[in-house]
């Protein structure tokens, strides 16, 4: 069987949505391969490393995407922007639900994303990533969203503004404040994470 499209083909996500709505099964596969990894990575960061919750968020986001495909209007919104927006709302809902219950189970505790046991530098990297996850989890929702989208997912400020439905200046402000808060949160762990003291830095 020859594949008409795949995750790397030139066909745009928006065109794939139209093809999907018209019954093209290859378009379904291509969209799954393109969108799912991005939304999963984002949801894991937004949910403080809780992979099981993140997978639920991804599946729900994608289900809503399939259902909206029939009414999709090309040129209005990018598929990824739409998916990030839905995933954000689902993540925030889940976090609020956890906060209402007033407990964070062991499963929800931040863990290194790359959890494979590794010696030397990789173990250090895993510690640093775990610390970053924990620091991100401590940020206000909007700041965490802006920092993750900008510095981890690599979206541009206008794209983030579209996802968050705010202005570009507000995105810049949220990102700056988020980074400052992250820096402060991680400052106390510099030695444990193997970072040089600021005074030692050249």
């Amino acid at each position: 069987m020859t594949m008409a499209y795949d995750a790397d083909s030139d066909t745009s996500d928006e065109a794939l949505m139209v093809l999907y709505a018209n019954g093209d099964r290859h378009a379904a596969l291509a969209l799954t391969q393109r969108i799912t990894p991005r939304i999963l990575a984002y949801a894991v960061r937004m949910l403080g490393g809780d992979r099981a919750e993140a997978e639920d968020v991804v599946q729900e986001t994608m289900l809503r995407l399939w259902r909206v495909a029939r009414d999709w209007r090309q040129g209005e919104t990018k598929v990824t922007t739409w998916a990030y927006r839905v995933a954000t709302n689902l993540c925030i809902d889940r976090q609020r639900s956890v906060r209402r219950k007033g407990q964070v189970g062991l499963d929800a505790a931040p863990e290194p994303v790359d959890g494979a046991p590794s010696p030397d530098g990789r173990l250090q990297d895993a510690r640093r990533l775990a610390a970053l996850e924990a620091a991100l989890a401590g940020l206000p929702d909007r700041q965490r969203q802006a920092v993750v989208l900008r510095h981890i997912e690599g979206l541009s400020n206008p794209e983030i503004a579209a996802v968050m439905e705010i202005g570009v200046e507000a995105v810049e402000s949220l990102t700056a404040r988020g980074k400052r808060a992250l820096s402060n949160a991680l400052a106390g762990q510099k030695s444990a994470l193997g970072y040089e003291d600021d005074r030692d830095a050249g």
């Binding site: 019954g23 990575a41 997978e55 599946q59 990297d125 990533l129 510095h151 510099k190």
Partner: protein, 112 residues
Amino acid sequence: MRDRDLDDLLDMAARTRPKPSPGLMDRVLADALGEQVLAPVMMQDAPRVGWLARLAQAFGGGPVLAGVCSFLIVGLVVGYLDPATVDYLTGGVASAETVDLFPSTDFLMTEG
């Protein structure tokens, strides 16, 4: 913590994206194909209506059209029948020559 260290850490996080499990990809794809199967059924066109059915609808539907046809046939039959036969049929009604509608008001019509 230095800005450069934080930027490096964020870069590292960007490079170490969690990858979706095959199980998640299978579930998402199954949902996609499941929703796609439903779509054509929901988008199916309504059954095509013929011109005769549309004409009947214009006259108010089947029962009304049946009534109109019945009266049309009666009209044709009456039109073809001999007038004597019609007199026979309507004689009971048409034979009355005068009908006194207000017999008690005759005194008002008397002169003088």
